[in-house]
């Protein structure tokens, strides 16, 4: 077994930075560290890890002892997740300085959870995958409850950890069924075992295992009916953590789902396809309908992200080479858009300390730039043209239709239209109504300007010229199907 630690350099960098940040925080008095310097160290760590990930582009796939694969798929997600954590760190340090009393823990947990996320995408073995999930989840359980002054935060953390524990148990139980029937925990050997066994009726144990695995991972991805924790966790968590939850935590779960179901479990596709399809339908319908009656911006975005999960699950239900590259394209566009919205909302919160939708009243008068960012972001989430959401949804839904699931993409388009209604409700507050109370103009911090500016350009570029990103996604996913039996 080859154990080439050189394959893990980006994660090692992230982990070392995480502990470095903790150390700097521990010797705060001696080293005279400020909260901002911790953010800078963490951000630099993320950039270095990003740069290190670039070294693995265009290399032949290799594995670390058969546990962790380093291929284009892993590289894609390494780049994505390090970029996301970089954006979240930059977007949050102002918030952290004001509202969080444990800055060191905050940044190191973000970095550690990113390690978990990239390993989820890279795992080639069931237990490695499980441990990666737990690394991500445990970091987030703590991070969600970091806003100690807010009682909602503690409540959210408790709910998240309890329900998360149940989900982990289900997942582990399901994995044990798969191990029991396939006789191995390695993806390759599971795939081989199920390919030969694919003839004839599947065993009941396999079905139970699949159902439990989907339920467990469905919880992590907040698919309905395993979504109960999501709105509370989103609302209670510190805003930057909410942004991170909606981005990396979701995307990593899908990275794992795609590698697992697009590889070793692909021979069983006829057994699990209907599970994914029904999960997708229920998730997008329930998520989008409940979002209609939200009054808090975090809860609104929580339900809207549940709706988005439904769209992404659709790609798994119609799994093929075409739909998985479409999934990665959509996911990337969604991350960029969501981060833009959240960065703007964080900047708004830093100024006003408010997070109800009605508080955005008249923002177009008091802070027109943030109003534009939020409007563009919400329009993109609802799939309006010229923006990332339109292009990526178009490709994603077309992929489902081309796979013979026109009815599924029809439901998706309908739900996507429903989502426009509640996004418009926010936009209406900002543009149609006059501001109340303090109507003086104010400016967000230069960092918020710069960050949202870059993300805004990203939204438009992905919306209009998505070719390069789509090709990268295609190259990443082609690894999965090349290896599939």
């Amino acid at each position: 077994v080859s154990l080439d630690y050189g394959l893990l350099i980006p994660e090692i960098i992230l982990a070392v930075t995480a502990f470095g940040v903790l150390g700097l925080d521990a010797f705060r008095r001696e080293l005279k560290t400020s909260d901002t310097s911790l953010a800078i160290v963490a951000a630099v760590g993320a950039v270095v890890a990003f740069a290190a990930s670039l070294l693995y582009l265009d290399r032949d796939p290799e594995t670390f002892g058969g546990l962790i694969a380093v291929d284009d798929y892993t590289t894609f997600f390494r780049l994505l997740f390090t970029a996301v954590v970089f954006v979240v760190i930059l977007g949050s340090f102002e918030y952290v300085n004001k509202n969080i009393s444990h800055a060191g823990e905050f940044y190191s947990l973000l970095l550690l959870s990113t390690v978990g996320a990239t390993f989820m995408a890279a795992a080639q073995e069931l237990l490695t995958a499980y441990i990666s999930i737990e690394l991500l989840s445990f970091s987030l359980y703590v991070a969600v409850s970091l806003a100690k002054k807010d009682t909602r935060s503690a409540e959210a953390g408790l709910k998240y950890v309890l329900l998360g524990g149940v989900a982990s148990a289900m997942l582990l139980y399901g994995l044990s069924f798969i191990y029991g029937t396939a006789g191995s925990t390695s993806y390759d050997e599971i795939g081989a075992a199920f390919t030969t066994a694919a003839e004839g009726e599947p065993e009941l144990a396999v079905l139970v295992g699949l159902a439990l695995v989907i339920a467990g991972l469905g919880f992590k991805a907040s698919a309905v009916p395993f979504h109960m924790w999501t709105p509370d966790a989103y609302e209670g968590a510190p805003l930057p953590i909410t942004a991170y939850l909606s981005a990396t935590s979701k995307a990593a779960t899908f990275a794992l789902l795609l590698r697992l179901f697009g590889g070793p479990l692909l021979p069983l596709i006829d057994e699990w396809r209907w599970m994914m399809a029904s999960l997708a339908v229920v998730t997008m319908v329930v998520g989008n309908l409940i979002a209609l009656q939200q009054t808090n911006i975090k809860r609104l975005l929580a339900y809207s992200s549940i709706g988005q999960v439904g769209f992404m699950l659709m790609a798994l239900a119609t799994l093929s080479d075409a739909s998985s590259s479409a999934l990665l394209l959509h996911m990337s566009g969604y991350l960029i858009t969501n981060l833009a919205v959240f960065t703007a909302v964080i900047a708004f919160y830093n100024k006003t300390g408010r997070e109800e939708i009605a508080d955005f009243r008249g923002l177009a008068e008091t802070q027109p730039y943030l109003a534009v960012v939020i409007t563009v972001g919400l329009f993109s989430l609802s799939g309006m043209p010229l923006l990332a959401g339109f292009a990526s949804k178009f490709i994603l839904f077309q992929a489902a239709a081309s796979a013979g699931y026109l009815w599924l993409s029809a439901i998706a388009v309908i739900m996507s239209t429903v989502s426009l209604y509640y996004y418009l409700a926010v936009i209406r507050q900002m543009y149609v109504y006059e501001p109340t109370g303090d109507t003086a103009r104010w400016s967000p911090s230069p960092m918020a300007y710069a960050l949202t500016g870059v993300l805004l350009v990203g939204i438009v570029v992905v919306g209009l010229y998505f070719g390069p990103l789509y090709e990268a996604a295609d190259r990443a996913t082609s690894v999965l199907f090349a290896a599939a039996p």
Partner: protein, 496 residues
């Protein structure tokens, strides 16, 4: 039209998009700069539109000025030439481009008097115009739909922020109905692309591909109702009167003038040309819907007292003629439909321009409150009468040319329906002439002695529109040639 003219076609929607960027960079206080920028930009669009229309050679190839830039190909579900930025013009597109050029020029002029957040207004208006132009010149299904939706996108804010009467209700209703209709178009496009199975969104390639008959029968109604909703098709027209009543002047002009035409144009592009067998099967349905809309709109207009609502219902009625003409499946009827799209666009824009010019002073649009306006505002009245007479189909004006084509086509295909269509024209004459006599003539109501004549800028815009009405009315050949050859050559299964 030379192939290099493809750059002009590209510029048609890049110029308004570029203008929005320049506008975004202009400080809101610099009103003069905003006026200058939009003035130059709209004039450039107008000139390019006229150029594109005149350069289109109706004896040449069907699509002219074709230029394609590969956008995304050979990745995921896309094959060779998967998505291209491909432009090209046919006779119908040329007509619609000219229409857009005329209306955006006049629309820009009358919008200069907007005081409230004028810069934002123009940015949104030009995004819409870019989308509209794009629809008419693009030959790639992906970009067609992208630009089609782009045209709808700014409507919500344009109406909700700058509108009048019940603006939030009108804006939300319009937006949700149009976006809901897009669901059907989405499904139609997804279905057509996967059924064609050639991995490209190139419209010319898709036209040549074989889409199975059953798929066409399933998808054509989706395209027809999906695009038809934007075209104000009965029974999904109800956003139109409310939306138009609420919208600010220039938005009503562009919306009723050109955006609704995108809907009817979409039915031709994605329906008749892409799924001819489906179109043949469902054409009688279009006739039924069209004649109901024509009659229903006209009868509803009889009952309206608000000038804008009357015009809104009159639009529903006139767009009914368009669907009726399309459903006849003969060259003369379908040409009439496209002519009607042009004619209705110009005269409705003129109506809304005039109503806006008066409403800004009087803040009243109730017809019974007016009387003897011809004495107070003679110029305004003259333009209004021209628009009205064109609307009721007086020979020598644009409406007549269009309607006569549609009526002949309808009589050939469905004589009984043809009779009903002529009846509709009579009802139209009734409500318009009654409105004239009530509002313009008779004893002058002194309440309005403070009203001033419309401004010079508005007169210029009205002259442009009224001039177009007259030109099409007396010399329709350039339009008829371009439209009828395109229809005869590009839609399989039409009779003469």
């Amino acid at each position: 039209m030379a192939s290099s003219d493809g750059y002009v076609l590209l510029a048609l929607f890049l110029v308004p998009l570029g203008t929005t960027l320049l506008l975004a960079a202009t400080p809101s206080k610099e009103r003069a700069a905003i006026v200058a920028l939009t003035g130059v930009s709209s004039l450039a669009m107008f000139v390019m539109s006229v150029y594109a229309f005149t350069q289109y050679d109706f004896e040449g190839a069907q699509f002219q000025g074709v230029k394609a830039w590969t956008w995304v190909e050979n990745v995921g579900l896309l094959g060779e030439d998967g998505i291209q930025l491909k432009v090209g013009l046919d006779g119908m597109g040329a007509t619609m481009v000219l229409l857009t050029g005329v209306i955006i020029l006049a629309g820009t002029w009358v919008s200069w008097k907007i005081q409230h957040r004028a810069k934002d207004f123009f940015i949104l208006l030009y995004i819409m115009v870019a989308g509209v132009y794009g629809c008419f010149v693009i030959l790639d299904l992906f970009f067609f739909f992208l630009l089609y939706e782009t045209a709808v996108l700014p409507m919500y804010l344009l109406i909700a922020v700058w509108g009048s009467t019940r603006k939030e209700y009108g804006a939300m209703k319009l937006m949700m109905m149009l976006v809901a209709a897009s669901i059907l178009i989405f499904i139609g496009i997804f279905g057509a692309f996967s059924a064609a199975g050639i991995g490209t969104f190139d419209l010319e390639a898709l036209y040549a591909a074989e889409i199975p008959r059953n798929t066409q029968l399933l998808l054509f109604p989706m395209i027809a109702f999906g695009c038809g909703t934007l075209g104000g098709m009965w029974p999904f027209h109800s956003w139109s009167p409310d939306g138009h009543a609420a919208a600010p002047t220039a938005v009503s002009m562009c919306h009723a003038g050109v955006l609704m035409k995108c809907g009817a144009f979409g039915i031709i592009r994605l329906g008749f040309q892409l799924m001819p067998e489906g179109a043949e099967f469902w054409a009688p349905g279009l006739v039924v819907v069209g004649i109901i809309a024509a009659l229903y709109g006209a009868i509803s207009a009889l009952r309206q007292t608000d000038l804008k609502l009357m015009t809104g219902f009159s639009s529903v009625s006139h767009m009914g003629y368009v669907f009726l003409g399309l459903g006849t499946l003969n060259v003369i009827g379908m040409s009439g439909a496209v002519l009607q799209m042009f004619a209705h666009g110009v005269m409705t824009a003129l109506f809304f321009l005039l109503i806006g010019g008066m409403y800004d002073q009087s803040h009243d649009r109730e017809i019974p409150n007016f009387s003897g306006m011809a004495r107070q505002m003679p110029v305004w009245t003259i333009f209004f009468v021209i628009a009205g007479l064109a609307s009721l189909g007086l020979p020598g004006l644009s409406g007549f040319v269009a309607e006569v084509h549609i009526f002949i086509g309808t009589f050939r295909a469905y004589p009984v329906v043809g009779g009903l269509a002529v009846l509709t024209a009579a009802i139209t004459a009734t409500y318009l002439l009654r409105m004239f006599s009530q509002a313009f003539f008779g004893e002058f109501n002194p309440r309005w002695s403070g009203l001033k004549e419309i401004t010079l800028v508005e007169r210029a815009g009205a002259t442009l529109l009224a001039g177009t009405i007259l030109v099409l009315g007396v010399w329709p050949a350039p339009w008829v040639d371009r439209i009828s050859t395109t229809i005869a050559n590009s839609i399989p299964g039409v009779s003469l």
